[in-house]
């Protein structure tokens, strides 16, 4: 489907900051949420669940490991949105 990558990125950052209560400066694109940023394991799950809800995409369990950094989360969301058929 057609989407604005920059807008998705901004939304994703907002969502992560909201759930994790981190400051924007702390959120480096390749830092592991849990390992480097000290995000609670359940909060990490909450980010994924929120992604599913926000973008109406389905993230399966096998993909949970791929979503530990902002960049990896973004790549997966882009991939899922690319695969999503445009529905009118």
């Amino acid at each position: 489907m057609v989407y604005d990558q920059e807008k998705v990125k901004e939304e994703l950052i907002d969502l992560i900051l909201q759930i994790t209560e981190l400051d924007k400066d702390e959120l480096h694109p390749d830092s592991s949420f849990v390992k480097d940023l000290g995000v609670d394991s359940l909060a990490a799950l909450e980010i994924l669940a929120a992604l599913e809800k926000r973008y109406k995409i389905k993230i399966v369990e096998e993909e949970l490991a791929k979503l530990d950094t902002l960049n990896s989360a973004l790549s997966l969301v882009y991939k899922k949105l690319d695969e999503k058929p445009e529905v009118n």
Binding site: S41, L42, L45, L48, A49, E61, E62, L64, A65
Partner: protein, 408 residues
């Protein structure tokens, strides 16, 4: 019984030899897929048989990168990842959950069996324990599995590891059911985990209970079990709690039956008394009639004795109606994942209720006159399933049957 007291299942977390996560697991299950293959973790050349249901090419560390503590044994690690899948599936992270009111109950046959193996190897090599790694000492206790899952998620409700061998997963679910009924916790993560261990492999091999290549439950030429590994965790909560947070509900746990054969440590009672009593108790507690059961998830290990006695026990309980109930053993595909088996089967039964598809018993070729029921041979079957029971019969004669019901 009021609706508020009903106990429901709202999340599934699976790590099995046929799939990681409920989707891969289910898709392979209904296709009749198996990954039973020559054992790679151990040298089995000295044993009679050489096949197992190992989980290959799966790196647990990817899922729990923050764990630096080396005292977490492999069963704990597998359990944490499966519990994480279940929590994710339950959508629990949407809620402001009270971690003080979440419990963890784990069924396991071997507990941290890998750690025990290291202890044994150390003793054989060093002839004493003076230099034994401290981390191994910390991880070797079976109770560490539930303790580690609790501590990873910071869940400080009840935690227990139950060791009733191959029915331990059902025991964990039943324990959770009773605690939730009494409002002791809001949510319980219950299930089972066992990692591939040479102790289990050698044990069943020495008892001449392992099959050469295929597990073929209820087939005339069945030759035994295939030792496997895996984890299955379920999220249980009261119906009221689930409705309040708008959770998807797989099934209601309608009741259970627990009995002990009081007969022999490894062999089932010849008449199937313990097994049939377990099913009868379960149906009585669940207030269901014989002809309401749409599916039986069998213990179905693939040994001559279990399958014959389980069939006999089912006939004792259901009479002529036994011939009308589809029965399948998913161990034919997964192998026998020990303490995790019955919790994985409970999760599979939840998916049967959800999808109205019954997984097959694969490798079925020749009918055994003593096993003459409908075992859903080789191909899955579409059928509306509203009520199912799931059997587990363990060493020590520890029988546990649960009844899962579609919620109206």
């Amino acid at each position: 019984m009021s609706d508020e007291n009903k106990i429901v299942i709202t999340g599934l977390g699976l790590i099995t030899s046929i799939g990681i996560g409920k989707n891969e697991f289910w898709n392979n299950l209904i296709k009749g897929q198996t990954n039973i293959s020559p054992v790679s973790a151990y040298d089995t050349s000295e044993y009679d048989t050489h096949y197992g249901g190992e989980i290959k090419n799966f790196d647990y560390k990817n899922y729990i990168p923050e764990i630096k503590d080396k005292s977490y044994g492999l069963a704990s690690i597998m359990g944490i990842v499966a519990a994480k899948f279940a929590l994710y599936d339950a959508g629990l992270s949407y809620d402001k959950i009270n971690k003080n009111r979440i419990g963890v109950i784990v069924g396991s046959t071997g507990g941290e069996s890998k750690s025990i193996e290291i202890v044994c190897t150390h003793l054989a090599e060093q002839n004493n324990f003076t230099k034994l790694d401290k981390n191994i000492i910390k991880s070797a206790s079976p109770s560490s599995v539930s303790a580690n899952i609790s501590s990873y998620f910071n869940f400080s409700g009840y935690a227990n590891t139950i060791g009733t061998a191959c029915s331990a997963g059902n025991y964990a679910i039943i324990n959770a059911f009773n605690r939730l009924k009494k409002n002791e916790e809001d949510i319980i993560i219950a299930g089972g985990v066992d990692v591939f261990s040479i102790f289990a492999y050698a044990g069943f091999s020495r008892l001449k209970s392992t099959a050469p290549e295929k597990c073929r439950p209820f087939d005339k030429n069945r030759k035994g079990i295939i030792v496997a590994e895996g984890a299955g965790f379920l999220i249980l909560e009261t119906l009221e709690h689930a409705l309040k947070r708008n959770a998807y509900i797989y099934a209601e746990v309608a009741g259970y039956g627990l009995t002990c054969d009081a007969f022999h440590i490894t062999g089932s009672d010849e008449e199937g008394l313990g097994a049939s009593k377990s099913m009868k108790k379960c149906m009585e507690m669940s207030k269901i009639k014989i002809d309401e059961v749409d599916y039986i998830s069998a213990h179905g290990t693939g040994t001559q004795r279990n399958d014959k006695i389980e069939t006999l026990a089912i006939k004792k309980v259901f009479g002529d109606y036994a011939y009308k109930i589809p029965i399948s053993s998913i161990k034919s595909m997964l192998g026998h994942s020990m303490g995790a088996a019955s919790s994985i089967e409970a999760a599979a039964t939840c998916l049967v209720l959800k999808n109205n598809i019954i997984p097959p018993t694969i490798n079925y070729e020749e009918k055994d006159p003593e096993c003459d029921l409908d075992y859903v041979p080789n191909t899955m079957r579409k059928k509306n399933v509203n009520i199912a029971i799931s059997n587990s019969f363990a060493f020590g004669g520890n029988n546990a049957t649960i009844c899962l019901k579609k919620l109206n």
